[in-house]
Symmetry: C2
Subunit: 145 residues, 2 copies
């Protein structure tokens, strides 16, 4: 999995949320740049930096096994030649528990174009105060020239 | 103020925190890109996007007048030709109230190189669970070629 190549930042983002839903640690770490400058902030959590801290945090989160579905919406994307920034809402819900409230999270995801394709370098997530407003913001990504 | 040019992303970041301390709305908005894709998340707040929402939020925050000092530390910076990403700890404290606790905040700041110099496009701040660990992380910024 670590040799996986993501041709676009969106491919890396899709793989990130797939790994998150599947609690797939190898899949998750294959999304991140092999770099000590990576930064990860889980909702209400510390800032983690470097491969070791980031891997350890996901291992701890995934230890409970697959349980949550994540719906991504209202993406605002800005991309340049080497870096891409996506702002998204994450809605976490537990399958087979329709009575459970979905938990809204705001995330800023930053991707870097490396020799091995696009990789995540920043995931900053924080609790959103309420469900996102209804108006969709899934506008086409803005490309900088 | 809106014609101010920031030659580097760090210049834009310095101006951002100066405007924040001075409650200077014009100075604050001069830091932001004149772009509808800008995104701002205040600690525990909604995701705001576009000039109107971002300006209105700072006007509301600044209405109380200058009061907080902000110390920035442990910056992790990654920059490319058009975009720069800074992860920082913000420590808010109230002058003349030494007994007040400093409030630690984690922020992801993203800057875009525009025709008018570097401007902020994303400010995502969230409460940090505790004071940052002691080990300094003020490493030189990593430049991508």
């Amino acid at each position: 999995m670590t040799g996986r190549i993501f041709p676009t930042a969106q491919d890396a983002e899709n793989a990130f949320y797939e790994a998150l839903e599947r609690c797939d640690l190898d899949g998750m770490m294959a999304v991140w740049a092999e770099d000590e400058e990576i930064v990860c902030v889980h909702p209400a959590g510390e800032r983690l930096s470097g491969q070791d801290q980031v891997r350890e945090s996901w291992a701890r989160i995934f230890a409970a096994g697959p349980q949550a579905r994540v719906r991504i919406e209202q993406q605002v994307a800005i991309s340049a030649m080497m870096l891409a920034v996506h702002s998204v809402f994450e809605s976490f819900s537990i399958p087979n528990k329709p009575e459970a409230q979905t938990v809204p999270v705001i995330a800023t995801n930053v991707y870097l174009r490396t020799a091995a394709g696009w990789r995540m370098i920043v995931h900053h997530a924080s609790p959103a105060p309420a469900a996102p407003p209804a108006a969709p913001r899934d506008t086409p990504p803005k490309i900088l020239h």
